[in-house]
């Protein structure tokens, strides 16, 4: 067999590929549900109902989507420039850490000043964390995949150390958790009697901002050029290493906002289970969105829906909720195949 390049398809056809990838994911997951001895249609109906069947379900899905938008944007930005940031998980915790360091009473400021300040600090922490692997990549040629992956483990141990040490909540009954952030540092709820918070709006604004950066600015152009062909970009006079550094700072900052928003908007304090793998799931979100910042919002809501729906389903149908993780991973693989098929046609000889 052989791959043959083909002309770029129209927008409608391009959009058909992710739909096909998702459909393939449901078929594969359906087979697993059958293996688990349940009816795929009944199970998927319960997943959909659990994700979107009521006002509560929809708000819950949007709440879960919020951190995924941030990590999805972080990955989309990085992957566009072929900077393989697999460390969004660590950057998320860096953001959460900055939030509790500044938000638990250290700064007696009113909310309109305090919240933006904490956001900036969180972004700086995440950016700094990815700057390390980016420097190692550009200066020493160390593959950033492995360094960012290893940093995930280092970061979670670092957070664990702080939560059992200087950041430990004295009123926490011995649990490794930080103090709660003060009222002025909390993001307000968007809808009364729900968990949906201002972080969701910030995520939407971030998506639009990233879209503008990618499509309308010189930096966005340079990032795409570096990602498309670093050698050609260098030849065209683009400072490749500097573009990669800027990409790293932006990507790390975005991932850190996920941690900020989870702590300041939802959990209120920092614990070791702040993220059930939002960083890794961000990779799937970004790929499903074909690295488009606005697509990330839709993809994040979709993926969040699968998680929220599967949680609800597993309580009643007896199919393990890990089916959600399986579906998300399958969607990643079917999606990369689908993206390839938009550009190549397979010739069997």
């Amino acid at each position: 067999m052989r791959l043959e390049p083909k002309p770029a398809p129209s927008l409608v056809v391009t959009l058909a590929y992710p739909v096909g990838a998702v459909a393939a994911t449901f078929v594969i997951a359906g087979l697993l549900v059958l293996a688990a001895g349940a009816s795929p249609f009944a199970v998927f109906a319960q997943v959909v109902a659990g994700a979107a069947g009521s006002r509560f379900a929809v708000l819950e899905t949007l709440t879960r989507a919020t951190p995924l938008i941030f990590t999805g944007l972080a990955v989309a930005v990085a992957f566009r420039a072929r900077l393989w940031n697999i460390g969004a998980e660590a950057q998320l915790y860096a953001g959460g850490l900055a939030t509790v360091v500044l938000g638990t009473g250290a700064l007696p400021l009113p909310a309109p000043v305090l919240i933006p300040l904490i956001m900036l600090a969180a972004m700086a922490a995440g950016a700094a964390l990815l700057a390390g692997p980016a420097i190692l990549k550009t200066r020493f040629g160390v593959d950033e995949v492995v360094t960012t992956l290893l940093l995930n483990f280092i970061m979670i141990l670092f957070v664990s150390m702080l939560l059992e040490g200087v950041l430990k909540d004295p009123m926490g009954m011995g649990w490794p958790q930080s103090q709660r952030v003060v009222a002025d540092a909390q993001l307000m709820k968007l809808v009364p009697r729900s968990r949906l918070h201002l972080g969701f709006v910030i995520a939407l604004v971030a998506a639009v901002a990233v879209w503008v950066i990618m499509k309308k600015t010189a930096l966005g152009y340079e990032m795409r050029a570096v990602g498309h062909n670093a050698e050609a970009a260098r030849f065209a006079g683009i400072p490749v290493n500097r573009v990669l550094m800027k990409t790293a700072l932006l990507s790390g900052g975005l991932a850190a906002l996920a941690g900020f928003s989870e702590v300041a908007g939802l959990k209120g304090n920092l614990t070791l289970d702040l993220s059930p793998g939002f960083g890794y799931t961000g990779i799937v979100v970004a790929m499903l969105a074909m690295l488009n910042p606005l697509g990330v919002v839709a993809a994040a809501i979709f993926v969040a829906g699968i998680f929220v729906g599967a949680d609800a389903m597993s309580r009643t149908a007896g199919v393990p909720s890990y089916i959600a993780q399986v579906m998300v991973a399958t969607a990643l693989l079917t999606m990369v195949v689908a993206i390839m098929l938009t550009r190549f046609r397979i010739r069997w000889r």
Partner: protein
């Protein structure tokens, strides 16, 4: 201070070091084979989880220990087949596919575990491989127990290094594998299919990774639990770089690394909680990054690593 030094002269320390090294040796050899053929296999972390589960599950449901190892290898090879199919003939990003395989393999393992054992809270144990003392040699002080009183899987790990080195450097097959990672066009010019060589390497490599995972459940912890791979796969990727893509050097790296790991556990007990234990647990990961930085400068990595091969293209 003296006590910290004396640790190095206890047999139990070296026994632990070799035991900790064993799964890393299998998985590092697996990754090394893939990369020598030109394919970065980031599925390693998930494939180790599959191996750990498949081996344990086989024995737990009444199978023989060696059957468990075989099933683990087979399961690993299947995920290798998937990884290879996506990255070799289809030429998809080895980074994205590898992460995808890790996510898929890990989540499928957890799903199957929950499906098979919905109720259990504490993971059930199996009867693992027992140490097999080699007569006379195991009586040598210090290195005797460490090298010659281990479980059969540890001996297999060392044997694997020898076999991998022999095949890579002394057989036509090894030449084809190395050439596929250096200069695939030359392989094709010999009338050998690059696709076949790379696919084979990824499948065999993945099988070894899975056996590495199986070591954890069948020769170390005796049961399967979530998150048990805990970054070992990523460390093996660093070990391949540390070993400059050579089996012997990679083995040395794995043993050194494991010795350090065994040492930090003992040091932790010695300091009696004066230093936060997380600092000790961080060391393996910090050390891996340091090794990458030091070695990357002079590393002569396979020239065609991560470059998909398309016939007739240059």
């Amino acid at each position: 201070m003296l006590e910290a030094f004396e640790i190095l002269f206890t047999a139990s320390f070296w026994v632990a070091a070799i035991r900790i090294a064993s799964p890393l040796i299998f998985a590092t050899m697996g990754e090394l084979i893939c990369e020598r053929a030109g394919v970065l296999n980031l599925g390693i972390e998930g494939i180790m989880a599959v191996g750990a589960f498949a081996g344990w599950m086989t024995v737990y449901s009444g199978g023989d220990l060696w059957t468990g190892v075989a099933i683990a290898a087979l399961a690993g090879a299947l995920f290798g087949l998937l990884h290879g199919a996506l990255t070799v003939p289809l030429g998809l990003s080895q980074h994205v596919v590898g992460i995808g395989i890790t996510l898929l393999a890990t989540s499928l393992t957890y799903f199957t575990y929950r499906l098979a054992l919905p109720e259990v809270t504490s993971p059930p144990k199996i009867v693992p491989f027992q140490p097999l003392a080699i007569p006379l040699l195991s009586d040598i002080p210090l290195i005797g127990p460490a090298l010659f009183n281990q479980t059969p899987l540890t001996y297999l790990a060392f044997l694997t290094v020898a076999v991998v080195a022999w095949v890579l450097y002394r057989t036509p097959l090894g030449l084809a594998v190395r050439a596929a990672g250096e200069n695939p066009a030359a392989v094709e010019a010999q009338g050998i299919s690059v696709t076949a060589v790379r696919m084979g390497a990824v499948m065999v490599g993945s099988a070894l990774m899975a056996v590495g995972g199986a070591f954890l459940t069948m020769s170390a912890f005796n049961s399967f639990f979530f998150e048990m791979i805990n970054g070992r796969g990523w460390i093996c990727i660093a070990l391949v770089v540390f070993g400059s893509w050579r089996p012997g050097k990679a083995l040395l790296g794995a043993v050194l690394f494991a010795a350090f790991d065994a040492y930090q556990v003992r040091l932790q007990q010695l300091t009696g909680g004066a230093v936060p234990y997380q600092l000790f647990l961080m060391m393996p990961f910090v050390l891996s990054i340091a090794a990458l930085v030091v070695m990357s400068r002079r590393a002569s990595y396979p020239k065609a690593l991560m470059i998909p091969y398309r016939k007739g293209e240059r």
